[in-house]
């Protein structure tokens, strides 16, 4: 199998060019074709000499793949299915809202984290995505030229695939890549502290943390990661970083009726996040088959939001999108395709 060019950083392209003895600027030309111009074949890189294109084609292919299926929600949200190089499948959600087009990308095939309320977790873990496979989810959808925001909130835990996620962020934000502002990109984690620290050092993108309850005992029943990385330690690490300017940290909070939506939770959240410049995103629970958690009602959600705002924590409610096509938060899964591709 040939090596794939799409997903390589400029420095990796330079290595290829240097090894072949071609002029150094060839790497920049290749990056321009791959990312700015968006070609589908090496043959289309027409400012490269014919001999260079032929030599490249012997060893490489571009490595961009169209989606194999698209579903469209009544609210305009789209869910794309992509096959990976290893023959597995991932899903990507495209969420239009006014002038914004947000793409929710996957970083892994499946997920190891096993959160009780998440559909992706139910399929276990089948593999890591490469940087190319992550960026391809943005590059190969119909709305590719209109994408305004990217969230790493699809299948998988981004910080369990940190190096590929960082490489994908470099391609998306570098001038030689897609030149997007990192302020339009949010990476979400359940709180793998060492990787989160590395991300905060090496990227300028926003951070989102899945919180879901401030209480240790409750969180470890909802999210096994709590055993290894308690939320208090996650928050203590975040406290060391400056989020008071352009870079944002937000906390994701799915509301479960009678479980984590009480005044006691509001008080503890207020204590836990005291002094951190942040936002809480409240998320309606989208029921996952076989999971015994009920979602909170609208009245409780509104009250919870108001209570947190009254405590001085900026709190918003995330709109539910794409629920009818299983594209909403926590519903992405390719479990069925593991057996019946």
């Amino acid at each position: 199998m040939k090596e794939l060019l799409f997903g390589k950083t400029l420095s990796e392209l330079r290595e290829i060019v240097t090894a072949a003895g071609w002029p150094a600027y060839t790497a920049s030309q290749m990056a321009d074709w791959l990312y700015a111009k968006g070609v589908n074949s090496i043959e289309q890189m027409t400012n490269l000499p014919v001999k260079v294109r032929a030599a490249l084609a012997e060893r490489f292919e571009t490595g961009v793949f169209p989606p194999s299926r698209v579903q469209t929600s009544v609210d305009g949200t789209r869910k794309y299915l992509f096959a990976t190089a290893s023959g597995k499948f991932i899903e990507t959600a495209m969420i239009p809202e006014g002038d914004r087009v947000t793409v929710c990308v996957s970083s892994q095939v499946g997920c190891k984290m096993g959160c009780l309320f998440c559909m992706t977790g139910k399929q276990g873990f089948q593999g890591q995505l490469t940087a190319g496979e992550i960026v391809n989810q943005i590059r190969s959808i119909e709305e590719a030229g209109q994408v305004s925001n990217i969230v790493y909130m699809g299948m998988g835990e981004p910080f369990d695939n940190l190096e590929e996620v960082l490489r994908s962020l470099e391609i998306l934000t570098a001038p030689w890549g897609y030149a997007m502002s990192p302020r339009r990109i949010t990476v979400s984690t359940i709180g793998i502290i060492p990787a989160m620290r590395t991300f905060l050092q090496r990227s300028e993108a926003h951070l989102a943390v899945s919180l879901h309850t401030p209480f240790d005992e409750e969180r470890r029943r909802l999210m096994p990661v709590q055993v290894a990385y308690p939320i208090r330690e996650v928050v203590e690490e975040i406290r060391k970083w400056d989020f008071s300017h352009q870079r944002r940290v937000s906390f994701e909070y799915i509301l479960f009726k009678g479980v984590n939506d009480t005044p006691r939770h509001v008080r503890e959240l207020s204590r836990l996040l005291n002094g951190i410049s942040c936002r809480i995103n409240l998320i309606r629970y989208h029921p996952v088959p076989g999971t015994p958690l009920p979602g909170s009602d609208e009245e409780t959600i509104a009250l919870f939001k108001e209570s947190l705002n009254n405590k001085g924590i900026l709190t918003t409610i995330r709109a539910s999108r794409g629920q009818d096509i299983y594209a909403a938060c926590g519903l992405l899964s390719t479990r069925e395709l593991m057996k019946n591709p």
Binding site: L116, G124, R220, R221, P224, V227, G290, P292
Partner: protein, 223 residues
């Protein structure tokens, strides 16, 4: 006491006491115990200052003279191949024990796959095995780590499941297949799950479908 690592973050240097390959590419690494801990807790381990540590469940009793971890050697891993090569007297960096996957005296089922048996062996060696049922799933019968000790003391409450290979008193199949065959799960019992992610989520779903409240299930996933 071991000297504190300059890198801080609670890591200190200890010396390897033993490094046993208990099954091909599975090691039990021990060092002299210098900390108290609760059975079920984990430690972070690194070999060099500044490198990102990995987390391992302790696999020894809290009254024993040595602390231990049980680990698979991952060929592509950055740490476990080097851990496997450690010899007695070599240094490693270990954090203070922490974590809340804790065993106690209450009735419980311990459900593990592979090296996920480690925290349950710690609980067992700490005297908490009396009213527990242990279900351990592996690929080959040789991977029932500490099987003799469990069988001797737990008898029929020790359930072994192997997907390949046969043996006396061994259920042929996955842990989840064994769980599916149970007519009911005891009430007023806590269910601990530890091991690979798919086993944990599937076993949890089966328990919940079988009437176990989700609040009675606590899971630790190896990733």
């Amino acid at each position: 006491m071991g000297e504190r690592s300059k890198e801080g973050a609670g890591m200190k240097m200890v010396r390897v006491a033993r490094n046993l390959e208990v099954y091909p590419r599975v090691h039990l690494l021990t060092w002299r115990r210098e900390d108290n801990f609760l059975p079920g807790q984990v430690v972070k381990i690194a070999l060099e200052e500044g490198e990102a540590p990995r987390i391992y469940s302790l696999c020894s009793g809290n009254g024993e003279e040595e602390m231990a971890v049980l680990f698979n050697v991952k060929e592509e891993g950055s740490l476990t191949p080097r851990m496997a090569a450690l010899r007695p007297g070599d240094a490693l960096l270990v954090s203070a024990p922490y974590g809340t996957f804790l065993g106690d005296e209450a009735p419980a089922w311990w459900i593990a796959s592979g090296t996920g048996i480690a925290p349950f062996y710690s609980m067992f060696r700490s005297g908490l095995g009396g009213n527990k049922t242990l279900v351990h799933g592996v690929r080959y019968p040789g991977q029932f780590y500490f099987g003799e000790a469990f069988e001797r003391e737990m008898g029929a409450r020790y359930v072994r499941c192997a997907t390949r290979g046969e043996g006396e008193h061994i259920f042929q199949g996955r842990v989840t297949a064994w769980l599916e065959k149970q007519e009911q799960f005891p009430a007023d019992t806590r269910y601990y799950l530890c091991g690979n992610p798919l086993m944990v989520v599937e076993a949890r779903d089966l328990l919940i479908a079988g009437g176990v409240p989700w609040e009675a299930i606590v899971a630790e996933i190896y990733f």
